[in-house]
Amino acid sequence: MNTGDLSTLLVWGAMTALTIALVAYAVDLAAIAERAQRKVPAKATASAGAAGRTATAVATPPGGTAAVGDGRSLRAEGIARTTTYVGIVLLLGAVVTRGLAAGRWPTANMYEFTVVGVLVATMVLAIVQRRRVIAFVGVLVLGIAVLALALGLLVFFVQADAVQPALQSYWLVLHVGVAITATGVFTVAFAASVLQVLQDVREVGPRPVGEAARRTDGLRRWVTGPRFGWLQQVPSARELEAQAFRLNAIGFVLWTFTLIGGAIWAEHAWGRYWGWDPKEVGTFVAWVVYAAYLHARTTRGWSGRKAAYFVFVGYAVVLANFSVVNLFVTGKHSYSGL
């Protein structure tokens, strides 16, 4: 077996570990949800108006699960944490061996981009979950991570190899490396923003009936219902917004660097710093959307939940810029290797 194959094997191993972590987080989430459901009847009377909920409490927690106050499963959290660390170590090994096999920095095609991006996302996740585990963020980030790795291995995979002259530059490390890191950070920030919106909907609770209220009534009833009881375990919407902002701010600064670094590299390689290449446009659009997010946060009437919607759009653009633009649009950035 050569080094390249070893790298691929390590990625498969990491995917397995992360899948176990994903399941463990899901079990944790389920335990919390279950516990919360049993508490719901008491709450339902307290917050009248959210009627129509049927608290179908199913007792019997999973055998041997050490449940704590709010229903968290400490054992599941322990497993999730450990397997996430294992996954990170395996991914690190995979990235290093891939670099050795190719004889260069391993961020030159979509497969490598995916593997390194997942590595960054899981590392940020591990940092964010260090003090306080939020099972939902774990489920969302690891769900995206496992999916990305599967796509990487099954669709984007190419053999480790040297690269064409246009990619032979230290900017491959700086520009692409930072872009991947930003994507990883944005992924966790996105999860935090999703949670923030759910929590906000839940906290605000049923609103007086009105046209706007009726339109979102379905979502609200769903989120305030017992199915989302686990949200009680989650920090408040305001704290989540602060957390999401911190991560998005870091991601945005990294993205700004990606944009500037890309322009400098384009100036070296293609003789122009900006040429409205599809990839450049995508990066620019994502940047503008995240700038809009930062503005929305400080615009009266747009902060909080509405600002989080910009994160959804921004993250969607980041993902589309990686996938759609690489695979379906022809441009100068044809580094997918497919």
Binding site: R131, R132, D161, A162, Q164, P165, A166, Q168, S169, P235, S236, R238, E239, E241, A242, Q243, F245, R246, A249, F252, V253, T256, F257, I260, A263, I264, W265, E267, H268, A269, W270, G271, R272, Y273, W274, G275, W276, D277, P278, V281, G282, F284, V285, V288, V289, A291, A292, H295, A296, R297, T298, T299, R300, G301, W302, S303, G304, V317, V325, V329
Partner: protein, 573 residues
Amino acid sequence: MSGYRPDGLDDVFTATVTDDNPAPAPVQVPSIGFTGWLRWAWRQLTSMRVALLLLMLLAVAAVPGTVWPQRAQSPEKVATYLVDHPTLGPWLDRLGFFGVYSSIWFSAVYLLLFVSLVGCILPRTAVHLRGVRGRPPRTPRRFGRFPAQGQGTADDEPHVVVERAAAVLRRGRLPFWPTYRVDTHDEGRGTWSVSAERGYLRETGNLVFHLALVGLLVSVATGQMLHYRGQAIVVQGRGFANAQVDYDTFEQGTAFRPSSLVPFTLRLDDFEARFDPDSLQSRDFTAHVTLTEPGSDPEARTIKVNHPLDAGGAKVYLQGNGYAPDITVRDKAGEVAYAGPVPFLPQDEVYTSRGVVKVPDVSGDQPQVGLIGFLLPTAQEVGENLYRSVNPQPDDPLLVLSVWSGNLGLDTGVPQNVYQLDESRLTQSVDAQGKPVTLYVRPGQTVDLPDDLGTLTFEGLPRYVALDLRHDPALPFVLVFALAAFAGLAASLFAPRRRLWLRAAPGDDDGPTVVTAAGLARGDDVGLQPELDRVLRATLGPTAADDIPDRTSDRTPDSTPDSTPDSTRESTP
């Protein structure tokens, strides 16, 4: 515009400044008349809400450029699209969808955005400049509503405690880098307090960031006006001079000065290409050139992808390469009608190259000759008279040409593409069976042209490079403004802006001095409470520090009301 408050300034942070003397809320008196309307429009334009709207518009307006082909990048695709969509195409064209980034609507959005930005940032800059010279705000009477709080006791007199706190705050954490601006206040009846503020850098960063964006736009526009760009194909052993006539294509900005064309010359001595032996992908291209700048000796230099050559204030990029078969055509009379290398354009990874040879200068009344066909660097026969290239390196080159004769149409005055043959007044040579004649020529071979047109010799196979030369005097400015924007952004997002207050009051009945403290930060700031705790501990000493709950070690997010970015901002008038 008296009483005008720049947008984005009213938040919990500024609210404290006006804590004890609330500023009058800006009242919008509907003024009548033209200037009133102008003023109203200006306020709308420079509001955060409109900035937000314009930003989103900019994002949306940039998208069509990736959906439809753009003339600036790929004119041939636009032409194809127009042929394929005869009804929709012209409409899209009229609306600027094939030139999105120079269209009126795209320009309108970003110009409005920048007007809004200037209108928004200049007043803010004025406010900030005043603020930078100001003092920290007075200690508020009550600390109850602040996000960070602390308390403790001390045996020293209140003013001693306060002086010590002031010293701690002034010192900062790094030597010679004072962080806080500090004032102490005698509040009467033995009570003293200290107020401190840091983080002017945050707002400075924000302003630098926005102003740098304006600088960036101006530099880019200036570069557009002054730049020139030329493209030249240079065959091994040949050269060119930096003069407009020597370029195959030349493009210039509206304010281009011919004096910026420094008359250097460049000769291509050699070109090396390396390919991966298995995947045949390119691995390295190096052009060895001799550069002669006016007034200096010729110099040997190299040009590589990612490593352009600096010459005469311009940069020379290696943009492409290929083969230029060296061909000699003799006419029926044996006179040389054409001699020289003809660049062929590579079509794929193995450099199957397409090219055209035009032979207009035939003697007598012989028809002109046009040859069109392919060069295969390493030919492999895959069927009877069917060849393909299997390697980009010239291991076994083969020219495959068909022959046309008649009038090349070069004297019609209409500029012709050198890579295309205008076949309208030419006829193709055919053999006895009426099948088109195909010539297969290897280097060194001479073949007879059909129809008694003469002979063709394939003399050799030099390589050529496609060079792209660009001069943009605004480049350093673009870089400096981009980096300034980056630094400003980082400062504005990560530099904490904080206010801390500490009050020391005499204890009841000769008890120890009672110390209370509070902190406020602009935006979201996890470090605020730990900072307050640090200052308290440093002021009160380790003994009294027992009173201070150590929040740094076992903090969970919900035990610290970090910041209140949303609700408080919404509730300010």
